[in-house]
């Protein structure tokens, strides 16, 4: 150690800014995640979390949930939707892909800067864990003048991204859109047990608000079989505090049945609401939206297809290791890649978990 370093270390002891006896509070950290559970986990590649962009005004109708148990009205609707979704043809066979198309507007948080961009997402999920995620994003914008000022004060050279399309290709076993490492077949068909399993897999505080987030995590852009989806709906019906919104309209103006989990949170004035919107004819998840701050997503199409939309720029081999470890290489110029390929190549040297 140099003389300067040694002197600095000695003097820093006397400069300790931490008050004597101060301790951390992990429970407070967990409480904040519950309070801000509207910052739901957006599990896929774009790395976006919270939400902005105001959407429809929703008026709570029918029976509010009350404090003690699940809402009978919401439970009845969810159980009816479960029967509908169980019969949907959404199970891909070997060689096929589940295709999910959506649009969303969530803020992207990078350091001190919070920006927005509408994202058009297309995902092809193969039964062998191969596939493609195609993201087309609009030019970024700041969520408010205050956020812009705060960002530029800390990062004077910050530049908003111009938007564009990226294609992320995955070799077999490299793509999983599930919120954890498990097989769909390992999930219980008992909704009470499934709620506990989701807590184990998805983590977070063991609260009803987090349970509602788990439901969304397991449904959105995943290849959950129809029977599992049906059990997820039945599990949602058991969550205390959920509310039936009746007919609502998603960001595209399409009507659907809304189920919400409103939360006042532990801090005054920081309540939030998360809504899942379901197609009343098919039972499928058709949209999401929420407040505090606001966000939206609409699911435009979900179906089984026979092919990827084109040829990847390189062979999608070898497969990733069991468990998903693989390596990701960018496509295109190093500074401005327009996608990536993830395979099991080079696993012995620099393997990393490959999933987005």
């Amino acid at each position: 150690m140099s003389d300067v370093e040694s002197r600095i270390r000695q003097e820093f002891v006397a400069l300790d800014p931490l008050p004597p006896g101060a301790e951390g509070d992990w429970g407070d950290v967990l409480g904040r995640t519950e309070q801000s559970q509207h910052r739901r986990r957006w599990a896929l590649a774009t790395g976006t979390v919270v939400a902005v962009a105001a959407v429809a005004t929703v008026v709570l109708v029918l029976l509010p949930a009350g404090g003690g148990g699940p809402s009978p009205a919401a439970a009845a609707v969810l159980n009816r939707l479960a029967r509908l979704v169980a019969s949907q043809p959404l199970t891909a066979q070997p060689g096929q892909y589940l295709y999910v198309e959506s649009r969303n507007d969530y803020p992207s948080i990078s350091g001190s800067c919070e920006t927005l961009a509408v994202d058009h997402r297309q995902i092809w999920i193969g039964t062998d864990g191969s596939g493609l995620i195609r993201d087309t994003t609009s030019p970024e914008r700041f969520s408010s003048a205050a956020d812009r000022a705060a960002c530029l004060q800390v990062n004077p050279n910050w530049r908003l991204r111009s938007g564009g399309t990226s294609n992320d290709w995955y070799a077999p076993r490299c793509l999983s859109t599930k919120p954890g490492s498990f097989e769909w077949s390992s999930l219980s068909s008992d909704p009470h047990v499934l709620l506990q399993q989701m807590r184990q897999i998805d983590g977070g505080p063991p609260t009803p608000g987090e349970d509602f987030q788990h439901i969304g995590d397991f449904l959105r852009e995943t290849d959950a079989p129809p029977a599992v989806r049906a059990t997820l709906y039945q599990a949602a019906a058991l969550i205390p505090g959920i509310q039936l919104l009746g007919t609502v309209h998603d960001h595209n103006g399409r009507p659907g049945l809304g189920i919400a989990y409103p939360s006042q949170g532990p801090y005054p004035g920081k309540g939030s609401s998360s809504e899942l919107i379901f197609n009343p004819k098919t039972g499928e998840l058709s949209g999401e939206q929420g407040t505090g701050p606001s966000y939206w997503a609409v699911y435009l199409d979900q179906k089984v297809v026979n092919n990827l939309p084109g040829e990847p720029p390189a062979p999608l081999t070898p497969p990733c290791a069991p468990g998903g470890a693989g390596t990701t290489k960018p496509i295109g110029p190093a500074k401005h890649p327009h996608g990536s390929i993830t395979t099991g190549a080079g696993l012995n040297s620099t393997s990393t978990p490959s999933h987005p």
Partner: protein, 162 residues
């Protein structure tokens, strides 16, 4: 999707319990306020929990969390109204505990922000150059040059006093 969400939550809790004091010292120093700094640690870890699915494993988890906490503290400092200290009497980002400012305290106060944050990470958190580079998202050589420049500045200020 990053797998092992529950495992990551456990790792984050372990990191928090083991290294909270270091996170707090750095965040307080960056924010220039005990309350704001401690709040930044809490909020930073809450963000880490919520964003853990975005952790891609391209750096150690601890460095990724440091990055979030440092940026949260920087933002909190910008957004929190505060009174500027009298020049030369209350170095920003360090506590004087009622004593006259030392050369080191004055030196820290006068460093450019990037050098100051690197110094905090080096001496409050005891991070090595690789880890500091991961936190600041720069090359290791840049960290080396940054700290070297900071040390040179201290040598000069000490010589001036002596």
């Amino acid at each position: 999707v990053v797998r092992g969400s529950q495992r990551q939550l456990g790792e984050l809790e372990a990191l928090y319990r083991e290294r909270w004091a270091a996170f707090a010292r750095v965040a307080i120093s960056i924010a220039g306020s005990v309350d704001v700094g401690r709040e930044a640690v809490q909020e930073g870890f809450a963000r880490a929990i919520e964003q853990r699915h975005q952790f891609r494993g391209d750096c150690p988890l601890e460095a990724w969390v440091w990055r979030i906490v440092v940026n949260t503290a920087k933002t909190a400092r910008v957004r929190t109204p505060r009174e500027d200290p009298e020049p030369g009497t209350a170095p920003e980002g360090v506590s004087l505990n009622g004593d006259r400012p030392t050369e080191v305290a004055l030196w820290v106060r006068n460093l450019p922000e990037r050098q100051r944050v690197a110094v905090f990470l080096r001496y409050w958190a005891d991070l090595d150059y690789r880890a500091i580079a991961d936190v600041l998202e720069v090359e290791v050589g840049t960290v080396s040059a940054t700290l070297s420049a900071a040390h040179q500045g201290l040598r000069r200020s000490v010589q001036e006093v002596e």
